[in-house]
Amino acid sequence: MGNEEAVFFSRILTELTLSFHIIYATIGVGIPLMIMIAQWVGIKKQDEHYILLARRWTRGFVITVAVGVVTGTAIGLQLSLLWPNFMVLAGNVIALPLFMETFAFFFEAIFLGIYLYTWDRFENQRKHLLLLIPVAVGASFSAVFITIVNAFMNAPQGFDLAGGQLVNVSPIVAMFNPAMPTKVAHVLVTAYMTSAFVLAAVGAFRILKGSNHPYHKKALFLTMKIGLIFSITSAVIGDFSGKYLAKYQPEKLAAAEWHFETEEGAPLILYGVLENGEVKYALKIPFALSILAHSAPNAEVIGLDQFPEDEVPPLYIHYLFDVMVTIGMWMTLLSLVYLVGTWKKWRFTASRWFHWLIVLGGPLSVLAIEAGWWLDEVGRQPWILRGIMRTKEAATTSGQVDLMLLLFAGLYLILGIGSIVVLMRMFRKNTVEQELSDRAAERSGEVL
């Protein structure tokens, strides 16, 4: 296998692993917060439904965590196995957050084990809730540290290259790179948002399947409320991300927006297709790109004409941008309408088709996460470390990457199907109604 093939297959394998892992990772970051909110509301209102909600979410969460842990181990090792040259450099400069991530993960793993096996062990439920805080904090900090490494790949700093040698390394400067604030915030908030909408989809689905129990309505209302809050936050942070890109990675912004010529008062292009270098059927919002990039309608936005051809990212990332932004806006609108409608008792927000839209919102949110990560990773090409190391220079020289790709594809297939089957069985066998009456019986037994 020539090196070109090794590069190609390494990229495919990394993309596959990341795309699979990110589903479980996103849910893994977001769900602990949702469990925490539900359990807290349950304790506050002394409402058994919310407590059970937390309990059932936790059970499902364990399954997704297991897959997240093992695929996370896979991507952690694959970084060294597939991109050894990159990891030599990264190890020297950005190893600190990687190292700290394992601590955050360790912390989370220990307390998750404790939390799982101490339901009903404490007289005071608040004590049990306290055990969940390290789980949620650990999960979110794992995301923070890993995203810092990704931010570094986009905006490397904290070292100098002198004749091929790394000098003046400063791990802290490398961590607090310009890409870090917006990227970390965006990843965290969208993880919460996606988790909320995935859980909302589950609730809406149960209602559609004929369950009239208030449990599901409470679950749906709670998750849609959380979803709305975080989708609005995501939009605000998205705006900051645009400003970051304009300043530090203008080629990524320009490629995502199909902004070819440097100009003042640049319009924002949404949708459309590219035919022979011409943009067709697009929605052009005048001055919007200048506002997104610099908060001023007449500001100059750097176009792709400023970059050599071999440093321009693939232009199809525009479609990824469209998908991400459209779903984000759609989910904001959907949750807003649902909440207002429920409050005002509108007919149509209680209708079946509206619930189907909420069900669809779950997979759509996950798709938005995928599109966002593809946009991030493909939009950085041809660099693995922007401006420093090209992706093709970083890859392994091993000739067996294609075989490993097949093996891992098989693994992810098994894990994907396995986790879905297990989750469905888990909740179908043990319905909410059943469990509520079981618990009521258990309690009255204790009183007697």
Partner: protein
């Protein structure tokens, strides 16, 4: 003591932690599968499940710690080992992934089929075997540096008596460590049938484990005389280790102080591990890579060590809490509490 030594000591601690905890885990899975096949699962399954349930996730973290720390302290290992380990490490990841997720699927998701139990048990033997290849490779003689980069010679690796001896050691050690620990654990749970069975396994696997370990020292004499000589210079550490081994076997045999038997076993393995580590010094990959020429810059090393100390400050109390609530909690160990979500 220089930064390089501190770095490799930190990593050595994680590796040793992983070896012990993972051995208990892998061995437990195997014994569970074996007793299921023999129709004796009623004796062991409960005890093993009760131990494994709250800690399964923690095991994996030790491994992640080790390799992330390795790349952090010794970035050049990513280039050498990353390139040559693509196939063996990928296979190990896939086995670990299947094992880890199926543990959760069966324990929490109710996929309780005999087939999975058996697969789970066997994967626990294949993983140490595939991971042990890394130790074999580090002895040198299997990797050559070509123009394209380091290349692993699989033929030499798979026909070498040394690599098979290391595989045998990893398997026997896994079963031995696990059996001794579970004897103690079952005894704590006041489960006499399980204690007796595990005690029997512990005694069965004691001799093969020590013979396999001795065999490797002899293999090294031919394979890497330099390393062999350094091992022999540390004979007193090995002698002490063997004394601890005899102590473990004695107490298990006498059905006395199982806790002491287990701690003597920890002593035995940590001394042997220490002696092996010292004699391996300074090489990470003989003769291409030493801890000195692969070490990271000083700023990063200092930052990692500070992060490590701060992290331990956070982890040790948490680990203590975990052990206190489950491993050393009589009510939990004896199955009087469940409280599962």
């Amino acid at each position: 003591m220089n930064l390089e030594i501190i770095g490799i000591t930190v990593l050595g601690m994680f590796l040793f932690g992983y070896i012990i905890i993972a051995s208990i885990d892998f061995g437990a899975g195997f014994f569970n599968a074996y007793s299921t096949v023999r129709g004796k699962q009623h004796i062991l399954t409960k005890i093993i499940q009760r131990y494994l349930s709250p800690v399964w996730e923690v095991t994996n973290v030790f491994l992640v710690f080790f390799f992330v720390g390795m790349v952090g302290f010794f970035p050049k290992t990513a280039y050498y080992y990353g390139t040559v380990l693509l196939v063996p490490a990928s296979i190990a990841i896939i086995l670990l992934a299947i094992r880890g997720s199926y543990y959760a699927f069966t324990t929490y998701g109710g996929l309780k089929h005999k087939r999975y139990v058996v697969l789970y048990g066997l994967s626990g033997l294949l993983i140490p075997a595939s991971l042990s290849i890394v130790l074999t490779i580090s002895e040198g003689g299997f990797v050559t540096i070509e123009d394209s980069g380091p290349v692993l010679d699989y033929w030499v690796l798979f026909t070498s008596p040394l690599s098979w001896s290391i595989v045998v050691l990893s398997l026997t050690a896994v079963l031995y460590i696990s059996a001794v620990f579970l004897t103690w654990y079952a005894h704590q749970a006041k489960d006499e049938a399980a204690t007796n069975l595990m005690r029997k396994y512990a005694l069965i696997w004691a001799a093969p484990a020590i013979i396999a370990a001795a065999g490797i020292i002899i293999e090294l004499r031919i394979h890497n005389p330099e390393h062999y000589q350094r091992l022999i210079d540390l004979w007193w550490l090995f002698a002490l280790s063997v004394a601890f081994f005899i102590g473990t076997v004695y107490f298990v045999w006498k059905r006395h102080s199982y806790w002491l038997a287990f701690w003597l076993l920890i002593g035995q393995f940590s001394l042997a591990f220490l002696a092996y580590g010292i004699s391996h010094y300074p090489y990470l990959l003989y003769p291409y890579l030493s801890i000195y020429d692969s070490f990271t810059n000083e700023t990063m090393a200092a930052a990692l060590i500070i992060a490590f100390i701060a992290g331990l400050g956070l982890l040790l109390p948490s680990l203590y809490l975990l052990l206190k609530l489950f491993l050393f909690n009589k009510e939990y160990v004896q199955g009087k509490r469940n409280d599962h979500v």
